[in-house]
């Protein structure tokens, strides 16, 4: 599934739609009544202090968690009805690279290619390994790769099946400068082809990439804006930015 081209037009279909999303872990409520829409080709930046519910939100969209209340649809499908279709449309990148340490880069990608039903896997893997500049290490076991390389391989894994939606959970965390540059370059390249949701603490970078912002605090929506924003726009609301206390 390829996304639409330019993000200039605002009439793209809703690629991700969350309505009244809530999640409780036993007695602890991690998310309460969170709603947002990301149209095709859009880029939503997710901000908020630690424990605000950013990761929970991403995991809910990724179908790794089931909502306690509300619903989320991706590419028009509800994971409760058609989980496979939703999963095929999603690529997930987080601090955890989701790679098998005892297998080589190539074997890891082949595995995921099979799991996602990627056509012409060999060619696709070649293409991606070249893009993340890991072609020369393809037959090396993941345990022998540096953290930056592992994360680059994780990017390849996330893009392998050409997902329409990319969910990124603080993808820059713990990366060396080279990997960061590579990731940013890649994101810029594929910006137009996918729909993004990115959770990050890097407000400046987030705002550069995003055309939509959602700030969470204690599991609730603190701020929701569309369009390009400046860091100053968040001053009143974003605690970590302005150092203010609790929100209404």
């Amino acid at each position: 599934m390829t996304g639409a081209g330019s993000s200039a037009s605002g009439t793209g279909a809703a690629e991700i739609s969350a309505v009244g999303l809530g999640k409780a872990f036993g007695r602890r409520e991690a998310l309460h009544d969170v709603s947002f829409t990301v149209r095709r080709g859009g880029f939503l930046a997710l901000f908020g202090p630690n424990g605000a519910g950013k990761t929970t939100t991403l995991r809910l969209v990724a179908t790794l968690l089931r909502p306690s209340s509300g619903s989320v649809t991706v590419a028009g499908r509800d994971p409760r009805d058609d989980p496979a279709a939703v999963r095929r449309a999603i690529g997930f990148l987080s601090h955890n690279p989701l790679l098998y340490r005892d297998l080589t880069a190539d074997e890891n990608l082949r595995f995921y290619a099979d799991m996602y039903g990627v056509a012409e896997p060999a060619r696709r893997i070649d293409e991606l390994l070249a893009r993340v500049e890991l072609g020369h290490r393809r037959h090396d076991v993941v345990a022998t790769l540096s953290r930056g390389m592992v994360q680059r391989l994780a990017i390849a894994r996330a893009l392998l099946h050409r997902p329409a939606v990319l969910l990124l959970d603080e993808p820059h965390a713990g990366l060396d400068a080279h990997a960061v540059a590579l990731l940013d370059g890649l994101l810029a390249e594929i910006r137009a082809e996918h729909t993004f949701v990115m959770a990050t603490h890097d407000v400046r970078r987030g705002l550069e990439l995003a055309d939509q912002v959602l700030v969470l605090d204690a599991g609730r929506v603190a701020l929701q804006r569309s369009g390009r924003l400046e860091p100053g726009d968040l001053a009143d609301v974003s605690p970590e930015h302005a150092g203010l206390g609790t929100l209404a």
Binding site: A24, F25, A30, L31, G51, G219
Partner: protein, 244 residues
């Protein structure tokens, strides 16, 4: 687990129902009467068993009802588990825990009465006969239920896994019983069941009184357990909120 500043879902503190005390008392009183009747009829009124079991056969009026009640308890846990997996309501989990706890209690009693009977009738403390063995395994199995619960931190996961286990365990009980029949006959072919050809009317009265009494006892105790669990949950809820 990281305790974050997330607010707790607003809602009434006590959405759980504590079973009505008066009804519970009535049920337990009825159970008491029936069991007393079973005792009196069984031990004094009914004739002594003609077979080699003799007087010791009378323990059957309690042993068999206890066994059947244990199985009933496990059955209730099974249904509660199915309901929990279907609907996700915490009260089904509470019902499951209470039922398994009582099932364990009754299973232990089966073994105690079985041991007493075995000693009285055949002079052996323990026999590896199908029914006793099945209950022994059931005890171990459902004991594992509590170990499983203890090993899961998250409440909804705990309830889910416990429900799965209650389903698996209940299906396993008849399987275990059939398997024990494969065992070669030991030195003492012991069968803890009604001996002789059929039961006298007075035997039947005692037996049925025992059955009804035990079942009511189970229901009464279950209600008490549910009440205690509900109050415990309420206490936990209050503590949690006050801690904020």
């Amino acid at each position: 687990m990281v305790e974050n500043a997330a607010t707790v879902a607003a809602g009434p503190v006590s959405e759980q129902t504590v079973p009505a005390q008066a009804t519970t008392t009535a049920i337990l009183a009825a159970a008491g009467l029936l069991l007393a009747a079973a005792l009196v009829v069984g031990f004094w009124v009914a004739p002594t068993d003609a077979s080699t079991l003799g007087f010791s056969q009378k323990i059957f009026y309690f042993h068999a009802p206890i066994a059947e009640t244990a199985l009933l308890a496990y059955g209730v846990a099974f249904v509660a588990a199915l309901l929990y997996l279907r609907r996700g309501e915490a009260r089904y989990d509470r019902l499951g825990v209470a039922a398994v706890r009582l099932g364990l209690l009754f299973s232990l009693l089966v073994m105690v009465t079985g041991v007493i009977w075995g000693r009285a009738a055949w002079g052996v403390w323990w026999a590896w006969e199908p029914r006793l063995t099945t209950f022994l395994i059931a005890c171990l199995l459902y004991g594992g239920y509590f170990v499983l619960r203890g090993a899961v931190e998250d409440e909804s996961r705990r309830a889910t896994y416990a429900a799965l286990f209650a389903i698996i365990a209940f299906v396993d009980v008849p399987i275990t019983f059939f398997a024990t029949r494969f065992l070669p006959e030991g030195l003492h072919p012991v069968v803890l069941g009604p001996a002789g050809s059929g039961m006298d009317a007075r035997d039947l009265v005692a037996f049925l009184a025992g059955m009804a009494g035990m079942t009511l006892l189970f229901v009464g105790l279950l209600r008490l357990e549910l009440g205690i669990e509900a109050l415990r949950d309420e206490l936990r809820e209050l503590k949690f909120r006050l801690g904020r």
